[in-house]
C-alpha cells in the first residue's frame, strides 16, 4: 500500500447536524470519491486513545480516493454536551446524521462504516437506519454486561493505583465515572442491555483481543473468512490508560478490504 500525503486543505474541521452540535473532520479525496467511509469513534478514554489511528486511517483511505468523515458524538470530543450526557440512542442518531453529512459532502450514496470497540457496536446498531453498505468492526463490544463489569473494575483499580495517586482515593471520589469520564445511570442501563443482532450487511471483523479474551463473534453471524486476527491491542491495561493505540497492520487491513470492489 502506498500512503500519499493528504493536502491539509482537504481535511476540513466542521460542525454539522441539528443546531450544529456535532464536530467532524471531513477528508476529501483527491478526485471524485469512489467510496465513502464513516469512522465511528469509541466512547470515553478509548476515543482519546484512538484519535491518532483514526486520523492515520482517514489519511490512508483518502489517499486511496475515498471520502472520509470522522466525528464526535454528542457529549464527546469537540461536540456539544457534557460527558455525563452521552446517550446510546443519541450516539446512533448522531451516526445517522454523520452518514447523511458524508453523503451530502461526497455525493456518494453508499457509505461503509468503521468502528472500534463501542464505535463498532454503534455502527452495527446504526447499520440499518443509516443504510450502511458495509461494516468494518474492530473488537466491537458485543456483551454489554461484561464491558460494564470490566470498566467498573478498571475504575476501582485506578482509584488505588499508587503510580497515579499518592494515597488511595475513596470509592465515592471515583463513583459514577469510567477511566476519566462521568457516566450516567442511563448509559449504564443502555449498555447493560447491549446484545447486537447478526450483521445486516457485508462486514469484516478485525480481532485484536488477544488469546485469553472471550470471543462472542458467532453472535454476528459472520463466517470465519470474514474475521481477521491482528496482534493484541492493550485496551484494558491500566498502565497504558493514557497511551495512544497505534497499529499499522490495522490500517493496512482496513484499506485492503475497502479497496476491493463492492
Amino acid at each position: 500500500m502506498t500512503l500519499m500525503a493528504t493536502p491539509l486543505e482537504a481535511e476540513r474541521p466542521l460542525y454539522f447536524g441539528e443546531g450544529g452540535e456535532l464536530f467532524g473532520l471531513y477528508h476529501a479525496p483527491g478526485g471524485r470519491a469512489g467510496k465513502a467511509v464513516l469512522l465511528c469513534a469509541p466512547l470515553g478514554q478509548e476515543q482519546i486513545r484512538c484519535h491518532r489511528i483514526y486520523r492515520q486511517l482517514a489519511h490512508a483511505l483518502a489517499a486511496e480516493g475515498m471520502a472520509v468523515l470522522r466525528f464526535d458524538y454528542y457529549g464527546c470530543g469537540d461536540s456539544a454536551g457534557a460527558s455525563a450526557e452521552v446517550d446510546w440512542l443519541r450516539c446512533i442518531a448522531d451516526t445517522q446524521a454523520a452518514a447523511a453529512e458524508l453523503r451530502r459532502r461526497s455525493s456518494v450514496a453508499q457509505v461503509v462504516a468503521f468502528g472500534a470497540r463501542l464505535g463498532g457496536s454503534i455502527a452495527l446498531e446504526a447499520a440499518s437506519p443509516a443504510h450502511f453498505a458495509g461494516l468494518v468492526l474492530w473488537d466491537p463490544v458485543l456483551d454489554g454486561d461484561a464491558y460494564i463489569a470490566r470498566l467498573d473494575a478498571l475504575q476501582d483499580e485506578l482509584r488505588v493505583d499508587p503510580k497515579r495517586f499518592g494515597a488511595p482515593r475513596p470509592p465515592a471520589a471515583a463513583a459514577g465515572q469510567w477511566t476519566g469520564f462521568a457516566v450516567s445511570d442511563r448509559l449504564r442501563r443502555q449498555l447493560a442491555g447491549l446484545r447486537p443482532a447478526p450483521v445486516p450487511v457485508p462486514a469484516l471483523l478485525l480481532d485484536s483481543l488477544g488469546p485469553a479474551a472471550p470471543r462472542p463473534w458467532d453472535r454476528l453471524g459472520l463466517g470465519a473468512e470474514r474475521v481477521r486476527t491482528l496482534s493484541a491491542t492493550p485496551w484494558d491495561d491500566l498502565a497504558r490508560l493514557e497511551q495512544a493505540i497505534l497499529s499499522r497492520p490495522l490500517i493496512q487491513a482496513v484499506a485492503n478490504h475497502l479497496r476491493e470492489p463492492a
Binding site: L8, L14, L25, I48, H51, R159, R169, Q177, G180
Partner: protein, 281 residues
C-alpha cells in the same frame, strides 16, 4: 456559548475550536476588553485535553465571558506540519502567535492568557517569555525542581516504615530492569534560567498562576516547594501558586477536575476581570 471550528495558521496547518461567550460587553475600551484564553496541548493528547479537560475548561470560561481557543500545535492532534525549517521552540511560538491572531480576529481581544498542562506548561512558559501579547499564564505541573525540603519530606517517612523499604527495593529492581529502554521526555530548563524567566515575566506585568498536582510527587511534594525552588519570587504580587496533593497529574477524577476548574476560574476572574462583573484586580 458558541463554538466554531477553524483551520488556520501561516501554512493553514493548524486546527482549533474557538469558543465565544454568549454576550459581549458593549462599548468597552480596549484596555478593558476581556483577555482571550488559549489552551495548549498536554503532551500528545489532541486539543480536547486529558479526559476532555480542555473542553470543560474552555466552556466554563466562555460562560464567564472569556473568548477561548483550544487548538493543536504543529504535528499534534489534527494539525499538520507547517513545512518550515524551524526549531520546535520556534514552531511552538509561531503556532501560538497564529492562535492569538485567530482569536483576536474572532473576538477582538488583544491580550491573552495561556493555559498548559505538563509539556503544555513548558510551551506556555516559552511563549510567555517572548510574546508581548501574553498578559498571563496558567502553568499546570510546570517547571519545578527537587529541593532539600523535598528530599527530607520524601525520605524521612521511609526510614521509619519497613513497608516503604520493601517498596523502595522493589522499585530499584524495576528501574534496573527498565535501564536501557529508550526514554522520551522533554529536557527541562535549568532552575536559574526558569527563575530568571519567571522574574522577567513578572517584571513585564504578567500575572502567573502555577498549580501543582500530587501526580508529580517524584519531584514536588509540598505547597512550600515553589518557594524552596524559586525563593522570594513567590512574594511578588503577580504570582499565585497552589498545590493539590490529592489530584493526579492529568486529573482523571471528575471531582479533582472540577476543583481545578474552580481554581482557574477564580484566579482568572480576580486577575483579568470581565468588565461589569464587579471584580477588580
Amino acid at each position: 456559548m458558541r463554538e466554531q471550528a477553524f483551520r488556520f495558521g501561516r501554512a493553514h496547518h493548524l486546527v482549533g475550536i474557538a469558543g465565544m461567550p454568549d454576550r459581549r460587553p458593549a462599548n468597552v475600551p480596549e484596555a478593558l476588553e476581556p483577555v482571550g484564553v488559549i489552551v495548549l496541548n498536554a503532551g500528545l493528547v489532541h486539543r480536547i485535553g486529558p479526559f476532555r479537560l480542555h473542553v470543560e475548561l474552555t466552556r466554563r470560561l466562555n460562560a464567564c465571558g472569556y473568548p477561548t481557543l483550544r487548538f493543536d500545535l504543529s504535528t499534534v492532534g489534527d494539525s499538520g506540519a507547517s513545512g518550515e525549517s524551524r526549531t520546535r521552540t520556534a514552531q511552538v511560538c509561531a503556532d501560538a502567535g497564529d492562535a492569538m491572531d485567530l482569536l483576536q480576529r474572532q473576538a477582538g481581544c488583544s491580550r491573552f492568557v495561556l493555559v498548559g498542562l505538563c509539556s503544555g506548561a513548558q510551551n506556555a512558559h516559552t511563549v510567555a517569555c517572548t510574546d508581548a501579547k501574553v498578559a498571563g499564564a496558567v502553568f499546570l505541573d510546570g517547571y519545578a525542581y527537587r529541593t532539600a525540603g523535598f528530599h527530607l519530606r520524601h525520605t524521612l517517612p521511609k526510614l521509619v516504615d519497613p513497608r516503604r523499604w520493601w517498596r523502595l527495593l522493589a522499585r530499584r529492581r524495576q528501574v534496573a530492569a527498565a535501564r536501557g529502554e529508550p526514554v522520551f521526555a522533554v529536557e527541562r530548563l535549568p532552575r536559574p534560567v526558569v527563575r530568571a524567566d519567571l522574574a522577567g515575566m513578572l517584571d513585564r506585568g504578567l500575572r502567573l498562576c502555577l498549580i501543582y498536582s500530587g501526580g508529580i510527587n517524584r519531584y514536588f511534594n509540598h505547597a512550600s516547594q515553589f518557594r524552596e525552588c524559586f525563593g522570594r519570587l513567590v512574594e511578588r504580587p503577580g504570582i499565585c501558586t497552589a498545590f493539590d496533593r490529592e489530584a493526579d497529574h492529568t486529573y482523571v477524577l471528575a471531582g479533582d477536575r472540577q476543583r481545578l476548574l474552580d481554581s482557574i476560574e477564580r484566579w482568572l476572574t480576580l486577575n483579568f476581570p470581565i468588565p461589569g462583573t464587579g471584580h477588580s484586580p
